[in-house]
Symmetry: C2
Subunit: 431 residues, 2 copies
C-alpha cells in the first residue's frame, strides 16, 4: 500500500481504516449515514448509549424515583462522578474535577479566585494577560472581572506570551488549543514561565479535553475549565467542567456562592460557608438530564483506555490531520487555501483550518449540502485573521476515508464554483 499521505488513494484510505486498531471506537456513535462529520470540535457526535441512558434518567430516575433519586440514583454526587471521569483525561486526581454550569460560568469562578489569590499574595500585579484570538467568551468574562477588580485585561499574540510575562501580570489566561487555528500551546512550558515570573495560570481546555493528552498536575497548572459538548461528546450545551490545583482549592470563595457549594447544603444555614475542596465550585442545582448525557459522552473517550488511551487517540488524530493537509495540497492546488493551522503536527490540536479569502461561508455551505460538515469562522478581513474553513478530526469516529471524501468534496465545490450559487450566499445565524 501507498503510505505517503499526499498520494494515498481512496482505496488506500479504506485499507488504513481496516487496519486501524481504534476502528471499533466508531461503533460507539450513531452517525447519520452518508455524512462526513468534521465538526466534533464544535459539537461532538451522539453516542449510541445516550438515548437509553437519558430515557432511564427521565423515566426511571425522575419518573419513578422522583425526589428520592437524589439519594437512590446518586444525583447528589453526579458532578463529582462525571468530573472524576473527565479528570482521568486531563491529568487530575480524583476529587479535583467537577462538572457544573457552563464553560463561561466556570471561567468566572476560577478567574475570580485566581485574581483574589494574586491580590492577596501580590497586590501590585494588575494585569490579566491573554491571547488576542482566544475564544471570545473567555475574553468577555475576563473583561467583566478585570472591571470588577480594577485590573487591566491585556491581549497579546501566542508568540509574545512568554516575553510579555513580568512583575505586573497577575493571571495568565489561555486556551490550550486555539479555536480558530487549532494551535496547541505547550502548557507545561508556559505554566513554568508564568510561575517563574509569579503569575498564576488559568487554562481553558475546551478544545483539548478528549482531543489531546493533557496533564494538569504534571504541568503544575493552577486552574482549568473546559467544555462537555465538543470532544467529550456530551450533547448540545452539555455542562462544563472545572478544576483547581489542590493548593488552591480551599482558598477563597468563588463569587457564585450557591447552595450546592455550601459546606452543608441541607442544613439551610443563613450564612454561606464554602464546602472544603472543589465542591465550593458548585453553585445551583445542576441540569441532571444533560449531565447524565455528558457521562455517556465521556465514557466514549474512556473506552479508548484499553487501546492505548489518549496517546493512541492523539496519534490517530495527527495521522488524520496530516492526511487532510497533504491531500488538500495535492488535490486542491488550483485553489488558494493556505493552511491556517501550524504545519508542525506537534503544534496542532485535533483540527485543521484553511484560510479562504473569498466566499468562505458559501464554500462551507456547499460542503454541508454535500454532507461534509465542517464549519466556518469569520475573520476580521485582515491577513492575520482571515475567514476560515474549519475541520475537526475527532479520532474516535473519523475514518481515513472520511478525510479523503472531504477533500474530494472540497475540490469539487471549488473546481465547479458550486459555492457561487445563490443558495450558498446567505449569512447564517450560526455557522
Amino acid at each position: 500500500m501507498n503510505t505517503t499521505p499526499m498520494t494515498l488513494t481512496r482505496d488506500d484510505c479504506l485499507a488504513l481504516d481496516a487496519a486501524d486498531p481504534l476502528r471499533a471506537l466508531r461503533e460507539q456513535f450513531s452517525l447519520p449515514p452518508g455524512v462526513v462529520y468534521l465538526d466534533g470540535n464544535s459539537l461532538g457526535a451522539q453516542p449510541a448509549s445516550t438515548p437509553a441512558r437519558v430515557a432511564e434518567v427521565v423515566q426511571q430516575e425522575w419518573g419513578t424515583g422522583l425526589i428520592r433519586s437524589w439519594n437512590s440514583a446518586g444525583w447528589i454526587t453526579l458532578p463529582q462522578r462525571v468530573g472524576d471521569k473527565i479528570g482521568q483525561l486531563i491529568g487530575a486526581q480524583p476529587g479535583e474535577t467537577l462538572v457544573a454550569d457552563s464553560t463561561s460560568i466556570n471561567l468566572y469562578k476560577v478567574l475570580s479566585t485566581a485574581i483574589r489569590i494574586a491580590q492577596a499574595d501580590a497586590p501590585s500585579r494588575r494585569v490579566i494577560l491573554s491571547e488576542r484570538s482566544n475564544f471570545p467568551t473567555d475574553l468577555y468574562i475576563a473583561q467583566s472581572l478585570a472591571q470588577q477588580h480594577g485590573l487591566t485585561l491585556e491581549l497579546t499574540t501566542a508568540d509574545q506570551i512568554e516575553a510579555r510575562l513580568g512583575p505586573d501580570v497577575a493571571v495568565l489566561m489561555l486556551t490550550q488549543v486555539n479555536y480558530r487555528s487549532g494551535r496547541l500551546l505547550d502548557m507545561a512550558a508556559i505554566t513554568a514561565a508564568a510561575h517563574r515570573t509569579g503569575a498564576l495560570t488559568v487554562w481553558d481546555l475546551a478544545h483539548s479535553a478528549g482531543a489531546v493528552p493533557v496533564d494538569l498536575n504534571g504541568a503544575d497548572a493552577d486552574f482549568a475549565i473546559g467544555c462537555g459538548y465538543k470532544y467529550l461528546n456530551g450533547g448540545p450545551g452539555a455542562p462544563a467542567f472545572v478544576w483547581a490545583h489542590a493548593r488552591h482549592a480551599d482558598r477563597f470563595w468563588q463569587p457564585l456562592s450557591g447552595w450546592m457549594g455550601h459546606a452543608a447544603p441541607f442544613r439551610f444555614d443563613t450564612e454561606y460557608r464554602p464546602a472544603p475542596g472543589m465542591a465550593r465550585y458548585l453553585c445551583g442545582t445542576p441540569p441532571l438530564i444533560s449531565m447524565s448525557a455528558l457521562e455517556c459522552g465521556v465514557d466514549t473517550v474512556l473506552a479508548a483506555g484499553t487501546l492505548g488511551g489518549m496517546a493512541a487517540l492523539r496519534a490517530k488524530s495527527l495521522q488524520l490531520s496530516e492526511l487532510f493537509i497533504a491531500q488538500v495540497a495535492a488535490r486542491c492546488s488550483a485553489h488558494d487555501l493556505p493552511l491556517a493551522s501550524p504545519d508542525v503536527a506537534a503544534e496542532r490540536g485535533s483540527q485543521v483550518s484553511l484560510a479562504c479569502k473569498v466566499g468562505g461561508l458559501a464554500v462551507m455551505q456547499a460542503l454541508i449540502a454535500r454532507q461534509v460538515i465542517g464549519d466556518f469562522r469569520a475573520g476580521d478581513g485582515s491577513e492575520a485573521e482571515p475567514d476560515l474553513l474549519r475541520f475537526g478530526f475527532t479520532p474516535l469516529y473519523t475514518r481515513f476515508v472520511d478525510v479523503f471524501d472531504a477533500v474530494t468534496a472540497l475540490c469539487e465545490v471549488l473546481d465547479t464554483a458550486e459555492w457561487r450559487e445563490a443558495r450558498f450566499n446567505q449569512q447564517a445565524a450560526v455557522t
Copy 2:
C-alpha cells in the same frame, strides 16, 4: 355529599375528583402507581410527553441534525421560546423572560444589575434587604454581591419588611412563597412600598411560577428569577428563568458576560458588547437537552389555559391544602402537629408545612416508605423555626383522594409510632 373539609370521607374525596373540571390534567403525567406525590414543590412530576421529546432532541436534533440543529431545530432561540412560555404564567410580555443557567446564577445576574442601578441612581443606599428565612442560596448569592459591592445584607422577618424599608435600602430581595412555611407575600403591595421608599425589588418565583397567579408587570416588579424543576415540571435540575422589567433590561451589563449574551455572538469580537434587551442575561451555551425537557413541563401548566388557567389551578390548590389542614386537625388531633403555614388560604402558596417537634425526619421517612412522598426541612430547634413536614399540593396532578390517603398514612405512622423504628432514624443526605 358531605362538603365540610373536616368531615369528608374517602368516598367524598373520590367524588370530588370525579367532579373536578381539572382532572384530565393529571393524565399529562407519568406517576408511579400507588405513590401519593406531595413533593412537586421540590421536584415536579414527569410529564408523559417528556421521554419522546427528549429522545427526539437526542436522536434527531443532535444525532442526525448535528451542528446544523442550531439553526434547523431552533436551538439558538430555545431560551427565548421557553422563556416566553413561562412568561405567560408570570405576567410577562413576550421577549421579557429567558431560560438560562440556574436560579442561583440568574439571581447573581439580576441582583448585580439591581445593585448597579441603585449605585448609579442613589449611591447612598447601601443595604440589600431580605427575609431571614429566604431560601439560603438567595442569601448566599446576596452575601457574595454585598461583599463585592461594599453593601450590607440585612435580614428581617416577613412582617417587618415594610417597616424596615427606608432611605438606606438599595434592593429588596424576596422569595414570593417561602420555601419553609409556604407563606405567600403580596408582591404588588410590597413592591409598591419598596418603590415609595426608592428601593428596587428582586423577586424569586421558585415556589410561585406554575403554583400561584403571578403578575410581574401588574405588580411593577423590577427583576425576577425562578426555578424550572418545581411547579414547572421541567425535570431534575432543569434550567431556571430570568425576567427584568423593560425599563431595566438595557441598563448595565450583567457580570456573567458570556458569548451568548453578546450583541453579535457569531462575530467573535474581542470586546464584549451586550445584546439589546434581555438577551444580555444569557451567558454560555445552554444545556439544550434539559431545556427541551423543561419546555414539556411548562406545556403541562399552559394546558390548563382552556380550563381557567392559573386562576383555576390556584382555586384547586387551595381546596387541596384546606382539605389537608382540616383533615389533619380532625384525624391527627392526638398528635402535636401545629400548622406552620398561614391558616388564611390567601396567604399560602401551594404547600402546607406542619411543625414536628420530635422525629420529623423519621416520620417523613416512614411516610415515604408508605409511598406518601413529602419532604422534611430541618429547623434550628427554636420555636420560630421548628423542624417541618412539608407537603406540596400541585393542582395539576394531586387528587383529593391523595390528600385523604396522605392524612391516613400520617395518622397511622404517628398512632403506631412506626417512625420510631431504627430504619427511619438515619440522617439522610437529602431529605
